[in-house]
Amino acid sequence: MSAEPHPLADIVVVGRDADLWLAAMALGRGLGRSGPRLTVVELPSSAPKGAVVACLPQLTALHDKLGIAEGPLIRATGGSYTHGQAFVGRGLEWQSFFHSWAPFQWPSNALPFFPCWLKAQAAKLAARLEEYCLPAVAARYGRVVLATEDARGPSHAGLHVEADRYAAYLKAAAGALAIPIVEARSVEVERGSGGITAVLVDGERARIEGQLFVDATGAEAALIGRLPAPGWLDGGPVSSVDRVLTARAPRFNRLPPLAEVRIAPSGWTALHPTQTLTAVTHVFASATTSDEQAQGIAASNADVALQDVEIRSFRSGIRREPWHQNCVAVGAAASVLDPLHDVAAFVLQLGIVHLLALLPDTPGAEAERAEYNRIMRSSLARIRDFQQAFYRLAPAAGAFWEAGRERTLQPELEYKLAAFHARGLFAPMEDESFSAESWQAVLTGLGVRPSSLPPVIVGAALEPLAAELAQQHRAVRDAARRMPAHEDYLRRGAPARTTP
């Protein structure tokens, strides 16, 4: 029998940028005035100039929990809304498609949408998949989808927010929680047998003790990276990306509520628009493209002059134990995924949400740690499957894409793709983040057509099905046209009220 466990007295959050402030706010609000003391150690920003944080729609739930209304956030930071990602070709043969995070519009009492669409599509009696998705069509028209006149924000929408302004906004909001903040240029860790005993700030300027440490320092992994942690999940990266160029470009004249990914033979270029600028990201592989070449390609893909160009090396990896000993890593400190699907902020959210759900009140906390690691490994592996499916199936010419197609698949993805190829099935596993609709949008967008359909669909008459599709197609178009233009919506200002 163990003795009565000591309560956990001090939690220290070390980090920078949005990673730090979202984690600190979540813990600060969650703990209130009870329980352990919270201390924040803030490191200088590492975000490139003009970088934009792209948030998936899921992040709204975390913002809500933290009392951050997205309307005011967007106003204060010059951010914008996004209904998804358009994948378009640049200098190669490529069928463009749109990945929205929304379901398709279809009567709920009818046969399931996707196999019906496959059947009609094979008979050339259906429009492209995205035509049945309201946010996707609205986004193409430069409009945002509002469920009601007074909706708090567009539905099925994510955000684009400049990284530095987002962090500053969160930091200001965190001020209300009166958490002690120590500013630091650098940190070192002091280790004992149970993990970290204290964080040393700027050499010996300050020593901050704690029993639980949260590493929100981004890719530097300033805490967990110094522990003898057991490495990375098998499987390695999903693409050959090892260099990332970031730059800023002028804002779009008519701000589209979407991100655009331009597929080029030697990599891809993403444009993330906000009200004040367009963030340009270009990824490539150093084995085939030099930094100088990449600059030229990025500028030509973006079609504008680039400012503040920066190129950094990039390495993805999923940490086996993002919670090791008494150190819990969240965000990029825990794991870095391929930049293609804008999942970095979502990975941060997953870490924070599960940390809150499993927050211990004593040091040790073996059961909580094991569960956190299990669920993070599993969740991130499923996101990686989604990303790798793209690289495996992307029908683009060029060495960069060939290298992506040649990577070995993990058994789970191999299985998923087989089920999809066989019958258009989404074989869901535990801890999925991307919905069946997302898989359908991306796999069909990349040209996959299943080899059979469920018998119920095979037996359904084609004509009424095609007529229903035609009607939904019209309905989506009409509804999209009635939606407000993104620009107007932003100018008018989203409703300011917060969560009721």
Binding site: P360, D361, A419, R423, L453, P455
Partner: protein, 512 residues
């Protein structure tokens, strides 16, 4: 026009055979598939699963069956949950309801608030008093759940107790009227294609032959095709679930028309009590390693609330499942594919899940012999269902305090499956409930049984401490009050059945 109809043969009637045949008949295009069901009146069906889960409602709706008619024709009653008696003596009887406990106030799950209040020394009720469905079950009342999300009456689901023999007969009429042809006969031999190993024909004792492209093995424990003919291995789970026999006997109703099933722990297993409209089904599930057949039979008879209506019927089984339910061109549904004791009323659910999965994964003209990728998906889903249920069943046994009884001492000390060990550790350490999305049993179900079996977490989430304790106390008190108020005016279970679905007198054929 399809050139030819793909012949599908269901081997075996009974609950599994007719549920599967009904599902296929309802949803498969008749011009593309020909459905045949082979059964013999000489082979008694097991008639498993007289208690069901709420999922059966979805299955019936999916068939387009009228609920009241279904209930009348199967002598059905309402089931709000299962009462477990004597599984944990210290904790007393508890109900596992088809419903929620409390609410996740401030985004923190209910059990943390409940534990926090208890730890703070404030007055707090047993956890079941925060469940509307438990309250309704205890009060013996029922009405349809409310659509109003604000009402405590919206927090539960319901299932049925039914006469499985009558349900099979009901579905037989349904299936036959939709084109399933029933053949009476017994299988003498099975013909297979030498090269592929596929089953091609069933040879009957009469000499007749039935050819098919796909065979659905609903032959019950005999498992004629999957086990017998194809020799798919059995995965034995008897070290975790040692019960391998049962006696079943009906009696008349004398101790309450309860809207719930009862499972009472006994020396070498447990006894069920399932109230139907026309009788009460009883049984003793026991382990032959710990009790001989005769004393088991006597114990069951001694526990009956009224004289038996028939002689007790013995059942023998093995807990576990086939390694693969779909092999070559044969798919096992029901007992032919696996068996888990009826402790949580999962047998009919497993049939339903198998039939529904099969329907979406069925071969078609393009791949008549079964695309291995579709077979793999069927088997993956089947394994998942079995493993989830297994862990939940084992939990009931593992956490018992019946010290000094050999069966109970054995199951309390047996090495648990890793997946269950992990779930138990998390709950014990800090009241975290299992986190999975696919497969049976909600977090509320786990909470009911974990707490009911007397597992007390060491700690709860520290986030719960951030709320003023007065607020939490008021919320819980208010919630419990709303439950009691919500019960007002609900008809008794008996009155509900009388009004909605009273069966005409069911002849003795209904009795097991």
């Amino acid at each position: 026009m399809a050139a030819r109809r793909l012949p599908i043969v269901v081997l075996g009637g009974g609950t599994a055979g007719w549920m599967t045949a009904a599902a296929l008949a309802k949803h498969l295009p008749r011009d593309r598939y020909a459905l045949t069901l082979l059964e013999s009146d000489e082979i008694a069906t097991v008639g498993v699963g007289e208690a069901t889960l709420p999922h059966l409602r979805a299955f019936n709706e999916w068939l387009g069956v009228d609920e009241a008619q279904f209930m009348r024709e199967t002598g059905a009653t309402i089931k709000l949950g299962i009462e477990f008696r004597g599984w944990n003596r210290a904790a007393g009887a508890y109900i596992h309801p088809f419903g929620a406990f409390g609410e996740p106030w401030f985004g923190i799950e209910f059990q943390h608030h409940w534990m926090r209040l208890r730890a703070s020394g404030r007055p707090v009720r047993p956890i079941e008093e925060y469940s509307f469905s438990v309250a309704a079950a205890r009060a013996g009342v029922f009405d349809f759940p409310s659509q109003d999300r604000q009402s405590p009456r919206s927090t539960y689901a319901y299932a049925y107790h039914l006469d499985a023999g009558l349900y099979a007969a009901f579905l037989r009429r349904f299936a036959e009227s939709r084109g399933v042809s029933r053949i009476e006969g017994k299988v003498k031999g099975v013909l297979r294609d030498g090269e592929s190993g596929r089953v091609t024909e069933l040879v009957l004792e009469s000499g007749a032959r039935i050819a098919g492209e796909l065979f659905i093995d609903c032959s019950g424990f005999r498992s004629l095709l999957i086990g017998g003919e194809l020799g798919v291995q059995w995965e034995d789970w008897s070290h975790w679930l040692p019960c391998d026999r049962a006696w079943a006997v009906p009696c008349t109703q004398a101790s309450g028309f309860t809207p719930y099933t009862r499972a009472t722990a006994a020396t070498a297993g447990w006894m069920w009590r399932i109230p139907l409209q026309h009788r009460v089904g009883n049984g003793y599930v026991y382990s032959s390693r710990f009790l001989a057949d005769d004393p088991a039979r006597e114990a069951l008879l001694a526990a009956l609330e009224s004289p038996p209506l028939a002689a007790p019927r013995p059942l023998r089984f093995r807990p576990g499942k086939r390694k693969r339910a779909w092999e070559a061109n044969c798919v096992a549904i029901g007992l032919a594919g696996g068996f888990l004791e009826p402790l949580e009323s999962t047998s009919i659910f497993l049939i339903q899940a198998g039939a529904m999965d099969l329907l979406s994964l069925l071969p078609d003209e393009g791949a008549p012999f079964g695309d291995p990728r579709l077979r793999d998906e069927f088997n993956r889903l089947y394994d998942l269902q079995y493993e989830r249920i297994r862990d939940f069943l084992v939990l009931h046994y593992a956490a018992n305090d019946r010290r000094g009884e050999p069966l109970w001492d054995y199951v309390r000390n047996v090495e648990l499956p890793d997946s269950l060990k992990h779930k138990l550790q998390l709950f014990r350490a800090r009241a975290v409930l299992p986190n999975y999305q696919y497969g049976l049993f909600s977090r509320d179900s786990w909470l009911a049984v974990l707490v009911g079996q007397g597992i007390v977490p060491e700690r709860y989430s520290p986030l719960a401490d951030a709320l003023p304790v007065d607020v939490v106390e008021q919320r819980l008190a208010r919630f419990a009050l709303d439950i009691r108020v919500g019960l007002d005016g609900m008809p008794t279970h008996e009155a509900f059945i009388e009004r909605y679905a009273r069966a005409p007198l069911i002849a003795a054929a209904g009795a097991t």
